[in-house]
Each structure stands twice: as C-alpha cells, then as structure tokens.
C-alpha cells in the first residue's frame, strides 16, 4: 500500500513540476484558425526563431480557440500570446487576466519608431480600456461586394462607381438571363443573378455601413461610438443609417429575383460555392473569401475582386467636391493579447515588437492573400508578385479609403443593452425586409401590391429609437458601475 502511495505521490509531483516549470526560451502562440490560414504564423514563428537563436516557438492553430480563451486566461495555460476574434477582452482585463501593454507600446522597434507609432491610428482606440492598453488590434479588414471580374469582362459589365450604376448593373445582369450552364437546355435552367448571399446576412453590413458612413461622414462615428445618450439613435440626426438600409431595400429586397433563389436561407458555404460556380456575379463578403475557398476556385470561370462601395448620391464630398471613399473595418474587435498568467510574457512582448517590423507586416499580408495587419503600411514594400489580383483590390481599397469602425467600450454596448450596428437588439433587418417583398403577389403585380404594403424602413429606426429612449435609464441602472 505504501509503495502504491509513494508511486502516486511521485507521479503527481512530476506532473505538477512539468506544469509549473517554464522554459524561458520557449514561446507558445495560439492563433484562431479561420480564413487567414496558418502559413503566416508558421512563417513568422520560424523567422522569429532565426532572429533569436536558442528560442523555440510553438504554434497552436485552432478553429475553436475563441471559446477556449476565457478558461485559459482564468485558469492559466502554457499560452504566451493569443491571436483571435471574439475575445471579450474588456471583461477579462478588468478582472486582471490580461497583461497591460503600455510598456511595450512605448518601446522602440527601430530608431525613433515606437511600437505604438506602428499601430494603425484608426484602430488604436479599440485597444484600450480605462486608460490602459490591453491588446494590439490584429487586422485591418476590408469587406464589401466581391465580384467575378472574368464574368464582368466576358459580358461587358463595368464595375459600378455609383449606387445608380449598381442598380442599373443589377437590372442588366438579371435581364440578360445568361445561363449558368450554357449546355443546359431545360426551360427553367438557372441563369446568372446579380447577387448571392446567405443566412449570415450581416455580410451585407460591409456594404451598407459604407453607405451609412458616406452619408454621415466618418467623423459622425466619433460621438456615436461613445453611446452616451439615446439621442445618437435618433433617425432625424442619424439619417445615414436608415437611408443606407433603404438603398439596400431598393436594390436587393424589392428585387427578390436579383438574388439567387432562397439566398436568405442559404448556408454561407453554399452561397460561396454558388458564387464560385458562376450562379451570381457578386457576393457580399470580405477579405478572407479567396483564402477560405482557394481549393474550390476554378480560374476558368472565376477571377475574384473586391469593388469599392459605389457612391451614394448624397455622399459627403472632399474640398474638391469628390465623394469621399470610406471603408468599414471588418473585424475591428479582433485581438492580440498576452495572458496575465503567461509563462513567458517578456518573450511574448518581444514577438509583438517583431510583428511590427516592416518585414513581418509584409510577410503577414503576403501569406494571407492580402489581409492587412492593423499596422501602418506607409513604409511597407509589398512584393506584388506574391499577391493575387483579389489581394491587390483589397489593399487598394484599404489604402485609399477613410477607415471607420463601430468598436465601442461603452458599458451600454459591452453589457449588450444596445448595439451600435443594429439597435436595439443588434438584429439585422435584411431577412425581414427581403421576406416582406419575396412573395407571389408582389412578384406578379408589384405596383398594385406596393400601394398597401410598402415597408417604411425609416419606421424601423423610429420604433427602435423610441424603444431605446424609453428604456435608456432603466438599462443604465441595470449596469453595476
């Protein structure tokens, strides 16, 4: 019995010892494995090892990382660095589970250049809470309408510059009735539609939010994101939001035949496959689409590009009277964090500085097919031969647009009382509007049906505003300081 007990104690001690001992020369980086793949982090890890002889970097690329991070932060884990979306980092930071980064942000990464200087200034605000920096913003994403350049070229379609151009283009594509499979002789053979999309209707946000910012100007969001009063949701002052949704309604919802059948109910992967297979000319999506679907792309029928958001007629203009190009930062909440209980915080901070070097930034973009880090690209020399045409279109939009995002660290937002994207419940209205018009009576006789059934989009926002106004004080009192 004694022997058994002694053996058990010895094994337990070994396990405990292995858990607590940390190797000062090893760094563990855990990365959310999604549309960006993992080639970029493996390449950077090897480069970091080469630059720091004796250091070993292990990488965990995990598609389920986001849901695991809170537990790992709270209970401790071998992770030194996390790259992920969906980290509710403010909640974890105030509990002391995330290492503050103020010190490393002030360190120089090159003569006269501090780490903080290399961070994209439009995203720096998304990294601090209560005056302390707890994260580095990860990516500076681009979303919008992705189109099939080959299909456009073959049919003589131009990339629309204005909203009116886009409406006309959608009509042209739909009326052309071009068969997806020219050999299909069935009378109901599928024809190319302007759009395909999926149940994940928030992908439309990437276009609609650009229109909202075109109409309101990006400065509007500085106050909007503070969420200090219910007045920010007043449609009389915030007209861009409902007008953008109205524009979408006129373009998509009121033309159910402009979308591939039952787009509103499709799984997102099925919608993306439809786009790749030529069922539609355009899809609302983001920078990761090419990387995500790379093994399914047939270059004979698909040349993927992202188009800048077509300009609304009332878009804000610059001093020369030209409409200002804007772009909503997709994934502004994605984060790079160091756990408070990380075994090797110093080395993790060294990696952050390494990540901000021009060579690392270029590697990231080249290995992710055009995804931009949330860093300053002014001094970056990208090797164009390593970039696809889709990547180039993404970079072009990113570098020639005023960027804006909807990240807020207001407690009303963090506690989920209201949503800045679609208040009050953060619901998107695309499906509701599309289903409203997608009916037999409207399709057979739209004019007659619209007389009594026209959907007043502005009313959605008026009702929403009234609801928020009525509940604002109550919601504030529900938050415990």
């Amino acid at each position: 019995m004694k022997k058994i007990l002694l053996t058990l104690i010895a094994i337990s001690s070994l396990i405990l010892a292995s858990c607590t001992t940390t190797d000062p020369n090893s760094l563990k980086i855990s990365v959310y494995l999604g549309g960006y793949g993992q080639v970029w982090i493996n390449t950077l890890a090897r480069a970091f090892e080469a630059e720091n002889p004796g250091i070993t970097v292990t990488v965990e690329a995990n598609p389920d990382l986001a849901s695991d991070i809170p537990n790992r932060l709270q209970n401790g884990s071998p992770d030194d660095l996390f790259f992920s979306h969906g980290i509710n980092w403010e909640f974890l930071a105030v509990q002391g589970h995330i290492e503050p980064l103020d010190d490393v942000l002030q360190e120089e990464i090159a003569p006269g250049v501090k780490l903080i200087d290399k961070i994209d200034q439009s995203l720096l605000e998304t990294a601090s809470f209560n005056g302390t920096y707890y994260k580095l913003p990860w990516t500076n994403g681009v979303g919008g309408l992705v189109y099939n350049a080959k299909m456009f070229r073959d049919n003589g379609w131009e990339v629309p510059e204005t909203y009116e151009d886009l409406v006309a283009l959608a009509d042209t594509i739909n009326e052309a009735k071009i068969k997806v499979d020219p050999t299909d002789m069935k009378p109901n053979a599928a024809t190319i539609k302007p759009f395909v999309w999926s149940q994940e209707t928030y992908y439309w946000d990437y276009l609609v939010f650009d229109w909202w910012a075109q109409l309101n100007g990006t400065e509007f969001f500085n106050d909007y994101k503070k969420a200090e009063s219910s007045e920010i949701f007043n449609p009389t002052t915030n007209q861009g939001h409902y007008k953008a949704l109205e524009a979408w309604t006129d373009l998509v919802a009121k033309n159910p035949l402009h979308s591939v059948e039952d787009s509103v109910g499709k799984q997102y992967m099925a919608a993306q496959m439809d786009f790749l297979n030529g069922y539609a000319a355009m899809i609302p999506n983001a920078q990761w689409l090419e990387m995500e679907m790379i093994s399914n792309i047939n270059p004979d029928i698909m040349e993927m590009r992202m188009m800048p958001a077509p300009f609304m007629a009332d878009a804000k203009t610059d001093d020369e009277g030209n409409p200002i190009r804007v772009n909503y930062t997709v994934g502004a909440g994605d984060s790079i964090i160091i756990p408070k209980k990380a075994p090797n915080k110093a080395l993790a901070k060294e990696f952050l500085k390494f990540l901000a070097l021009d060579s690392s930034i270029a590697t990231f973009t080249e290995k992710t097919n055009g995804v931009l880090l949330a860093m300053n690209y002014d001094t970056i020399d990208l090797d164009e031969s390593n970039l696809s045409e889709f990547s180039k279109s993404i970079i072009e939009i990113n570098q020639n647009s005023q960027k804006f995002n909807l990240y807020s660290n207001s407690l009303m937002i963090l506690e989920g009382k209201v949503g800045l994207e679609w208040p009050p419940q953060n619901l998107q209205y695309y499906a509701t509007l599309f289903n409203h018009y997608n009916n037999r009576d409207y399709l057979t006789n739209p004019e007659a049906w619209l007389v009594n059934n026209e959907y007043n989009v502005r009313n959605i926002f008026v009702e929403s505003y009234n609801h928020i106004k009525d509940n604002w004080s109550k919601w504030q009192s529900e938050i415990a300081g």
Binding site: A66, S67, P70, G86, N88, F91, L92, V94, Q95, G96, N188, A190, Q199, E200, T201, Y202, V260, E261, D262, S263, V264, G265, K266, Q267, M269, A270, M273, D274, N277, Y279, L411, L414, E415, G416, Q425, L427, A431, F434, N435, N438, N439, R440, L443, T444, K474, E478, I479, A480, G481
Partner: protein
Amino acid sequence: MEKSIEVKKKRILKKKTKQRIFIILMLAYPVLQFLLFFGYVNFDTITLTFQKFSWTEGRYVYSGFDNYIMFFDRIFNDPWTRRTIINSLLYMPINSLVILPLSMAFSYFLFKKVPFSGFFRVVYFLPSILPIVVMTMAFSFTFDSNLGPVNDIYKWFFGMFDSNVIVPSWFGSYPTKQMMIFVYGIWVGLGFNIILMTAAITRIPEELMEYGQLEGIGFFREFTTVVIPLIWPTVVTTFILGMTSVFTALLQPLFLTPTSGDTNTIALAIYNSVLQNQNIAYMATFGIILSIFGLPIILLTRNTLNKFFTEVEY
C-alpha cells in the same frame, strides 16, 4: 477459551473495519462527485443570480433581486425573450408527442421484421451516429436551391397547379425555419429513441407474444395491449427526457440557423452568453427561474404517467 473468543471478536472487528473502509471508499467518489458537480455548481449558480458584474471592481458584486426583476421585466416587455421561451417549449410536444409515438411504432415494425426492416434500421440509426455538424449540413444542403433536390421537386409538383410558384425560404423566414428545425429533430431523433424502444421490446418474453397470437390478436392490439404496457417504464423515461429538451435544445438551431435570433432557445441563449462572457449572472437567473417552473411540471407528468400501467417484472 476466553482468549479464542477475544481473537474471534478482534477478527470480526477487523473484518467490519475493512468492510467499512471499503464501503466508504466506494461511496466517496460518487458522493464527492455529487457534492462538486451538483451541490457546488448549483450553489454557485444560485449565488450568481444575486450578483452582477461590477466593471469598476472587476468582480461580481451583490445585487439583490435585480436579475429576477430584470427577468420578469423582459418576460413582459421583450418579445425576443418571450420567443426564446416559446421556441424552447415547443421542443417538448415535438419530442414527447411526435418523435416518441413515431419511434414506438417504427420500433415495433422493426421488431416484427417487416420487409426491408434491416434497411430501415440502418436508415433510422445512421443519423444518430454521425456528427451533428455533418447531419445539419447534409440536411440544409438538401433544401438548397442549387445543391439539393427538394426545391426542384417542389417547383415541379406545385408548378402543375401554379405557374408562378415560389419555393418557401426553408431556413430564411420565420416560422418556416423553426418548423424545419423540428423536421430535422424528428429525422435525427427517431434513431436514438428507436434504439431505446427496440431494446425494451426485445426484452418482452416470447411466450407472452405467442400467447397473444394464439388468442388471435392482430398487430394493432398486440402493440397497444401487450407491447406498450410492458415497455411503459421506457416510454415514461423517454417522455421525460423529451420534456427536458425544453432546457437543452441547443445544437439544432445553432447549426441550422447560425445567426438567427428568432429561432433562439433557452440553452442557446445561455450558451451564447457564456461564449461571449456577457450577462452570465442574468442567464443563470433565467435558467434557475425556468427550472423552478419546469421541475414540478416534469415530476407531476412522471407521476401521472406512472399511474397509467402497473409496472411488471419479467
């Protein structure tokens, strides 16, 4: 003599001590597990319902009945909370009144070895052993406009009566998508229940079946007067498990309608809350209140169902 009695007593005492140690050791694990995973977890959950997160202190602080007040406020004023509860409640009749009777009937047919019963056994069981991610994807792709056959069949059939036929948006409009989730639940749920029912029916003594056949009873009477009474404890257990799905329905809406708020369920709301680390205390209150209402209903149902037939040993 006295010495030998003393030795015997000591031996008995030693044996009893050993027995006690054995019993204690055997009981220690389940008792500890109960205390930890039931006692502690529930105590912690109940405690959490009287707290809310303080952003200034970085911890949960006492908040009295605020979460309970918030819950009842939302029941009356928030249509989405009501819809979440209604959606969840609908899983009960689907599981207990649709899937269960169907699986009882199918199990009986399989037991009677109807033609192709082997084939049907595979058809019913297959969805139960494949991962739910694969099953939900296969199911939704079946109804996809370009990947699946259903829309074409629908258009062909209804096109005979209406040239302007529009295919419903199976997963894009409410309540159709909620119904589709239930259809999926029936398809997949049958297999699991059939396994339980078939196991119960197979245990019925052959002599009883033969006696009934000698008396000249048909399939229907055999099913209703012999099979059902004898497998009744399994039926009651499955019925109760079906009722608890009100609190556990999560994966079907999560995978079939990933971003849809209107097919939300109680379990999905709690799951999302935990995933986002948001409103955990409120969701704990949500769960506790619904358990307080649900538990007596489930116990009452079980007691009522147990009175239908006398349990017999065989």
